[in-house]
Subunit: 226 residues, 2 copies
């Protein structure tokens, strides 16, 4: 069985991505990040998701993006609520170079494993306007991977799989449901309450709730407000 | 004055790179990494170098590349001594995706600072065969930076400066000396003795010693053996 590194945040996109990697015959090595995010409860969700989807291994890299600042997700600003998400502006929840850092780590592990495939749940449709979720970013990273590594120089063709990249949130939810993802294990909220409930008002909650509505399915997680 | 992020390892290449950034009119923000390297003493050198070259700020990011393994520099294998360095093989001191990870962090800080310039002391001539020290890697990362970031999407043209990329070690030493770098503050050894002396036998020591010889200068640091 081919091995792959799968970025697992604990959200529903990465859970569906991991289920797709399984369907495609990969043995997933789950990778999550403790990066000083205010929604650290997502790491517990990441563990549940990796376990429920049969990850061969799960590592949580400690990285501290707070040393640079610049994002609402790492505590510099507050998380916007009930924002119009269909604008073209990149919101303050953007974390500078986050997916570049995440993919760099995934590449390091992938090379150390002797694997060639990395899965990421990036999505360019019902997303929050992040530049590092676009197909052109994914392609550029794939190019870089071949040049950056010993394995690449020696002939490994690294592939960055972003199977959700052009799916709507509703399609992602339908696909996950079809592949047996247990969405009750996932966590998407940027700003959960002290007892871990989803706020229901941040961009991430609103996109998730709208996606379930559109898919005609019920979101099994609990919200403080919805 | 324009700001730039400068990767400072504590070695003579990055010290010379920082001096070049200064010469070119940048105010350097030094960035170092505590990545589980066995030669952690280089971080003390990085602090001395950043201070002596007037860094506006110096941050040390804690990242643990040991969780992936795969390199002699992070403890999986022993550091080779008195090796023939002019071969085409990539040595076991290669750390998977290291410069990709380092540049990703530099990009995050650069964007948070509102800067556009990153300096790295990568060198493709008298080097150890690392793929992520080649000009094609640097160009690919520069491309990626524009696509990966909010600043890039909004028009910032990130530039990855690798001023040493095609210089010999002797040329780097001459250039550093000309720009007033105090090489006594630097540390290059991969496998220093318990009291911090350079071993004189690893690839890094041998390249350094040969460079000073060729430049007709004396290396001011102390070696256990030379």
């Amino acid at each position: 069985m081919k091995r792959a590194v799968v970025l697992v945040s604990g959200g529903l996109d990465s859970a569906t991505t991991m289920a797709i990697a399984n369907r495609d015959g990969f043995r997933g090595h789950a990778l999550s990040f403790d990066y000083g995010q205010r929604h650290k409860v997502e790491l517990e969700a990441a563990k549940r998701v990796a376990r429920s989807l049969g990850a061969a291994d799960h590592r949580i890299a400690q990285i501290d993006l707070r040393i640079f600042g610049g994002s609402a997700l790492t505590g510099d600003m507050s998380v916007p609520k009930n924002r119009e998400t269909k604008t073209k502006n990149i919101p303050v929840t953007y974390v500078p170079a986050r997916n570049t850092i995440f993919l760099s780590y995934a590449l390091a592990w992938c090379e150390a494993l002797g694997a060639a495939d990395i899965f990421i749940g990036a999505n360019a449709i019902d997303y929050s306007g992040y530049p590092d979720c676009r197909p052109e970013f994914i392609s550029a990273f794939e190019q870089l991977a071949g040049l950056a590594t010993k394995a690449g120089v020696e002939g490994t063709a690294f592939r960055i799989h972003a199977p959700l990249i052009s799916m709507s949130k509703a399609d992602i939810i339908r696909k996950g449901a079809e592949l047996g993802v247990d969405f009750s294990l996932t966590h998407s909220c940027y700003d959960p309450t002290a007892d871990g409930l989803a706020c229901g008002e941040c961009d991430s909650c609103r996109l998730r709730l709208a996606g379930f509505r559109e898919a005609g399915l019920t979101d099994p997680i609990r919200y403080a407000r919805r």
